[in-house]
Symmetry: C2
Subunit: 339 residues, 2 copies
């Protein structure tokens, strides 16, 4: 094994030692080419909930990203059109606005880019092409006025604009003001003694090395520059077989680069209470399991039961306030839309 | 053929001649054993949108009864768990509170009775038994407080109470104040001349014989006493093959009674603009087709194109105001819920 250069070791430790705890912003920045407006949000919400852009007319963004709960789908791995079972656990859409890359393997740089991915994925929404999806969208006359409102009159019913609207809506899906946020903003009574012990352990054990920042998904990066880490790092744990962590090669599956094997984007830890089961394959059923396994395979540490309970208590304090939302009204369907 | 007793003929004609046009009430009555309360409505909305009571965790009431649009699912026939395709078109849940029986064949007397049907239907939600569904419900701790709020503290997390809550929510799904309603309530400018001609034709052609009442689903009946009519009555129309109206034996499928063959509950005509395609099998793609075919097979009449257009214009005036709704917040999922 090569020696670790001192400068890197120092910088790594220094990061830990001076870690600042960040609270979640109440709003997310929007990119220069897609400023957030009320009209885009409303259109984006309609599109997000609309199942008509899937092969069967039954699967929408909402199907796997249930914003009435944790922004995921309660399942280990997701189900798309025709009952097909996917390979990965649906990541939460809550606070995705703060992630610098999208999907478990970070293959989309932005929310706009992510939004169109599932449409043509054969086991997600299963449309033959984006053009087919666009034809569906144009065949629903009631959408035109909403595109005009959001993008100005003209030839504006495009996949690009649909993606922009969905991203604008997703940038409103933020859960601020968790007990943790209240605590770091100065209310020292917001966390229990147990959660505070867990917060200390979270830092001292080393979780914070990767799970830093306001959304606990790593340091702020430019859009598209994901924060990636190998998982698992320490593989030699026999009792970990049941979590089957090596079956999926992670980022390698999209890049084909050998160094990306079993490399993953660091996920947010916000609202974990709502997003069980855990890991890219949903193999960890409880937060206790997830914390134990992460410590073993990422930090090569066997945590004691009490310390796990403390850390779980801290993680539970990351559940924020889910904003009240009105349901969108979707325009009527022509009877031959799905033919 | 036996002569029709005069008294019945007279009463039939008299009904037509003195037909009163009814507007839709703004609220629906609730049964004595399930008074509507705000707490039940909120719980019922949660359950209505919750997909966790289906075998795969992907299908909820909302999946086939999309209250963000027409209260149905855009499809000819519905899709349930494992991508299985059902045999009938999803009836709208909007204004179902005014129907005296539920399902296309009226096999459920009340909204309460209807609500539990799809849960164990193998091609809808596909749970092995209602007990399994109840076990899921009880395994989500966050629901308990909502059952307490709705039904008082105690052993209240029951399928019976879940059904009551869903029915209470569904009784709020009413779309009053359509142009038609405004018109019959005195605003003579609320309908176009075309729609008024269509309204006259709707009566004179005979549509009103079956499609009477505030929801246009027939006369008010006691709960459970559905208003049933044979469909098609006149079968000898060669060009109707494409609508395949005889493949499904209708009410016979649930009662096994010979006289119930091809007998159906008369459906509401409210919000048809939002519920294409039409008929129990979704074979009519447009309102024009539906009106033409209904006149042919129920009234033995071939309508002229202009008269069809007038009637369609009238039917479009039955689109009411959909109440704004907030999204429910669903309680978190234990990671092993679906195992």
């Amino acid at each position: 094994m090569k020696p670790i250069p001192l400068i890197i070791l120092w910088s790594f430790l220094a990061t830990n030692a001076t870690a600042s705890w960040e609270s979640l912003p109440e709003s997310a920045p929007s990119p220069a080419d897609n400023p957030t407006t009320a009209e885009k949000i409303e259109l984006g919400k309609m599109l997000f909930f609309d199942p008509r852009f899937s092969a069967t007319g039954t699967v929408s963004c909402f199907s796997c990203h249930n914003v009435m709960e944790g922004g995921d789908d309660h399942r280990s791995v997701s189900i798309g059109v025709h009952g097909q079972v996917g390979g990965r656990n649906a990541p939460t859409v809550w606070n995705a606005a703060f992630l610098s890359s999208q999907f478990w393997d970070g293959r989309a740089a932005t929310l706009e880019e992510q939004a169109v991915g599932p449409v043509t994925n054969p086991i997600e929404m299963g449309m033959g092409s984006l053009d087919e999806a666009l034809a569906r969208l144009r065949a629903i006359p009631g959408y035109k006025q909403h595109f005009d409102n959001a993008f100005g009159a003209g030839d504006n019913v495009t996949m690009d604009n649909a993606a922009k609207a969905i991203a604008a809506y997703e940038r409103t899906l933020i859960t601020p003001n968790s007990p943790y946020d209240q605590y770091v903003n100065g209310d020292k009574d917001a966390l229990s003694a147990k959660a505070i012990r867990g917060m200390d352990s979270f830092e001292s054990v080393g979780c914070l090395s990767c799970h830093s920042g306001a959304a606990f998904n790593g340091p702020a990066m430019p859009a598209g520059a994901g924060f990636f880490v190998k998982f698992p790092i320490f593989e030699g744990k026999g009792d970990l077989d049941k979590f089957d962590l090596l079956a999926d090669a992670g980022r390698f599956e999209s890049t084909g680069i050998e160094a990306d094997k079993h490399v993953w984007r660091v996920p947010t830890l916000r609202n974990l209470e709502f997003t069980a089961p855990y890991f890219h394959n949903g193999s960890a059923k409880s937060l206790d399991d997830a914390v134990l396994v992460m410590a073993q395979v990422q930090l090569n540490r066997d945590l004691e039961r009490g310390q796990v309970a403390d850390i779980v208590s801290f993680l539970e304090s990351l559940t924020g306030e889910f904003p009240a939302q009105t349901m969108p009204r979707l325009p009527p369907t022509p009877g031959d839309l799905l033919d």
